[in-house]
C-alpha cells in the first residue's frame, strides 16, 4: 500500500518528466539562438554605456588618460547656458514635430485605407522618401526653404503670402525643420495603415447601424482600436525628435554651409556632437549624453503612465 501511496502512477509522472526535459532543451536552444544578440548587446550597448558613465566623471580628450573629476561635468551642465538653449530647442521641436508627424501620418493612413486599387502605389510613394539619406534632406531644406527663391515660398506667393526667411529667421528655423521632417512620414503611415487594416469590420458595421458617420466612427472605433500602434509611433517619434541631428546639422552647421550657423537649430544632439568631436571634451559630452538619456527615460515613462488610461490592447483585461 505504501508503495502505491508514495509513488505516482507511471502514466502521470513520465510525461511530466518528458515535458520538463523538452522544456529544458528548448530553453538551452533558445539561449543559443539569442546568445549573439546578448553578446552584441553587452559589447556594443551595455559596455559603451557603462564606459560613458565612467567617462562622464572624467576630463578626457581622447589622447590623454581620463582624469577623474567627480561630478564636475554634471555641475557644469547646469551652469552652461548652451545646454539650456539646446534642451529648449529640442523640446520645442519635439512638441511641434511629433503631433505634426502623427497627424499627417494618420491622415494619410486613413486615406490609404479607403483607397482600394491605388493603395499599393501610394503606399510605396509615401515610403520612398524614407529612403532619402538625412544629409540630402538637410541640403534639400536649404533649397526648398530658401527665403526668396525656394519652392515653399514660391507656392505661398501664389496665394499672396509673403513667406518667411525659413533658414535664417530664428523664429522660423524649427517650423522649417518640422516641415522637412514630414518628408519621411512614410514609415509611420505604413505602421498605422497595418493597424487600420486589423480593425474588425463588424465594429464599423455596428457603428453604421447605429447611425455613426465617418468622423464618429473614426473617433469611437478607429482610434481606440489602433491606440496601441498609435502609442508605439508616438513613443518612437518622440525619441527620434529628441535625438534630431543629421538634417539640422547638415543644414545649419555642416561644412558645406561655410561658417554660418543658427542658434535656433542648436539641438541637443548637435551640441553633444560638437563637445565630443569638435572640442574633444569627451567627459563633458558623456555627461551630456547621460542627461539626454535621463530626459528621454522620463518623457517615455510619462508617456507610458498616460498610455494606461488611453491605450486599448485587444485581449487586455483593463
Amino acid at each position: 500500500m505504501a508503495a502505491t501511496t508514495t509513488t505516482a502512477p507511471a502514466g502521470v509522472e513520465a510525461p511530466r518528466r518528458r515535458r520538463s526535459s523538452v522544456s529544458s532543451r528548448d530553453a538551452r536552444h533558445a539561449w543559443w539562438f539569442i546568445a549573439p544578440w546578448i553578446v552584441g548587446f553587452l559589447v556594443f550597448t551595455a559596455w559603451p554605456m557603462i564606459y560613458s558613465a565612467y567617462l562622464s566623471l572624467t576630463d578626457y580628450d581622447v589622447i590623454s588618460d581620463p582624469r577623474f573629476v567627480g561630478f564636475d561635468n554634471y555641475r557644469e551642465l547646469f551652469a552652461d547656458p548652451k545646454v539650456a538653449l539646446a534642451l529648449r530647442n529640442t523640446l520645442i521641436y519635439t512638441v511641434m514635430a511629433v503631433p505634426a508627424h502623427i497627424l499627417l501620418a494618420l491622415g494619410l493612413a486613413l486615406l490609404l485605407d479607403r483607397a482600394a486599387r491605388s493603395a499599393g502605389f501610394f503606399r510605396t510613394a509615401f515610403f520612398l522618401p524614407k529612403m532619402t539619406p538625412p544629409v540630402a534632406i538637410g541640403v534639400l531644406l536649404l533649397l526648398l526653404f530658401n527665403g526668396q527663391r525656394g519652392a515653399i515660398n514660391t507656392m505661398l506667393g501664389w496665394f499672396g503670402i509673403d513667406g518667411p526667411a525659413w533658414t535664417t529667421d530664428p523664429d522660423w528655423v524649427k517650423p522649417g525643420l518640422v516641415m522637412i521632417g514630414l518628408w519621411t512620414v512614410g514609415s509611420t503611415v505604413i505602421i498605422l495603415l497595418a493597424a487600420l487594416r486589423n480593425v474588425p469590420t463588424d465594429l464599423y458595421d455596428a457603428a453604421r447601424v447605429d447611425g455613426a458617420g465617418f468622423w464618429h466612427r473614426t473617433r469611437a472605433v478607429t482610434l481606440p482600436m489602433i491606440s496601441g500602434p498609435l502609442f508605439f509611433v508616438v513613443v518612437v517619434n518622440t525619441i527620434a525628435a529628441l535625438q534630431l541631428f543629421t538634417e539640422a546639422y547638415t543644414a545649419f552647421f555642416g561644412s558645406g554651409n561655410t561658417t554660418y550657423s543658427n542658434d535656433a537649430a542648436l539641438f541637443y544632439a548637435i551640441y553633444l556632437f560638437q563637445q565630443a568631436f569638435e572640442y574633444l571634451h569627451m567627459g563633458y559630452a558623456s555627461a551630456l549624453a547621460w542627461l539626454l538619456f535621463l530626459v528621454i527615460m522620463a518623457i517615455t515613462a510619462v508617456q507610458m503612465l498616460v498610455s494606461r488610461r488611453v491605450v486599448y490592447y485587444e485581449g487586455d483585461a483593463r
Binding site: V62, D65, Q148, T168, Y279
Partner: protein, 461 residues
Amino acid sequence: MRAVRWAVPGAAVLLVLTACARGTGGGEGTAAPSFDPDADVSGKLTVMGFGAGDEIGETRLARAEESMPDVDVSLIEGDLDIQAFLSAVAAGDPPDIVYANRDQIGTFASRGAVVPLDECYASQDIDQDAFRDAALAQVTFGDQLYGVPEFNQVQLTMANQSLLDAAGLTIEDVNGSDWDAVTAATTALSKSDGGAVSVIGYDSKMPEFLPLWAKANGADLLSEDGRTAQLDDPKVLEALEFAVNVYDVQGGFAGVKSARDAADFFGSGNQFASSTLGAMPMEQWYINVLNENSPDAPMAFDAFRTPEGEPLAYATGSAWAIPAGSANAEAACRFAASMVSFDSWMAAAQARADAREQEGLVFTGVLTGNEKADEEIRSTLVTVTDEPWASGVNAMYEANEHTFSLPANPADSEFKAAWQDAVNRVLNGQQEPAEALAQAQEEAQKALDAAWERWDGGTTD
C-alpha cells in the same frame, strides 16, 4: 533573486574592465624622435588626410616616393578625421604622418598628439626662412615647430566690372580702402525685385572674414601669444558693425543669404557671370573657378585693402605633422621635406602650367607657402597677360605678400566657434554686436584658459 545574484558580479566585472580601459592614451609619446639625415629609410609610410587629387599633389607625391625607393607610401585620403587620428594616436597605432589644416596644429601639439619637428627641419635642411611668416607662425607652438607648412590661401577683392561701370564706380570703391565708399557702393549696386534681393551689391563674407575686417581696422582677435581673446576690442566691434551694416543696407542678411544660397557658385551661371553680385572679398582659388567656367565674365580684381590702402590677407593653409608614436618618423620627415621642397613645387607648378595649356586655360600660379618657390613660379611660369585675369593674378601675389594669421593655440575650435557664433547671432538678429562680442569674449577666454592651464600644468607630460 537569480538575476540579482548575476547582476552584482556582472556589474563588478564591467566596472573593473572600465577601470582597466584607462591609460590607453597619454602624452608619453610626445618627446621628439631623433632624425638622422644619413639613416636608411624603408618600410611602410601611412599618410592620413592627404589625397593627391591634382597635378600639384600627384607630381610632388611621385617625387617624394622616388626619393625614398624602399618606402611604401600608403595614403588614407580625404580630409583629416580628427577623431580617427587622435584615437589612433591614443591606441598607439597612429599614421606615420598627417596632413592637417594649419590652424589645427596648436591643438594637436598641446595634446601631445604630434611631435616637435625642429630636429626634422635641421636634419633635412628645411629652410625655415623660405616659409611665409604667417604660415610658420601657425605651426609654431610653445617656441617649437610642430608642422611643415604648405600652400597659402589669401583673399582679394573680386567685382563685376559691368555693374561697377553702370553705377559709376571703380574697383577702388569696393576694395575696402574706404569703408564709407564700400557702404555707398553697396547701396548703389544692390537691387531688389519684389522685396527679394536680385543683385547683391557687396558681400562682406561674414562670418568667416571677421578676422580680416578686424585686422584691417587694426585689431587682432587673439593676442600674439595665443592666450588672450580680444573679441571685445572696440575695433573688432567697429569692424563687425560695419560688415553687418553692409547687409542691412541691402535689406538684411536673410535676403543676401537667400540669394547667396540659391546661386550657382561653381558653375557657368555664377554670381559674377550672371551679374547678380557686385563685389566681395574672396580666396584666390575662385579666380580659377571663374576663369574655367565663365571666362567672359566682366571681372575686376584688386587686393583687399585696409583703410590706409595697404593690401591685407588672412592666410590659411595646410601643414604636415608627425604623430606621437609614428612608426616611421624618419621617413615621414623626409616625405614632408620632399613635399615642400623648392624643386618639388617647381615641378608641380610646371605640371599644372602644362595641363592648363593643354586645356586652353591660363595658369594663374600657385601659392605654395614658400617665398622662393612663389617668386620663381611667378617669374618663370605665370605668363598670363589677358585682362582681367592678369589683374587677378597680380592682386593675388600682392595679397600673398601682406598676410597675417591667428597664432597657434590649444583651443582653436572653441575660439573660432565663439566668435563665429557671435557673428551669427548678430546676423540672425538675436543680439546686438556689442552684446554678442562680449559673450564671445567670455566663452573664448574660458576655453583658452582651460586649454592653456592643461598645457602649462603639464598634464600631457
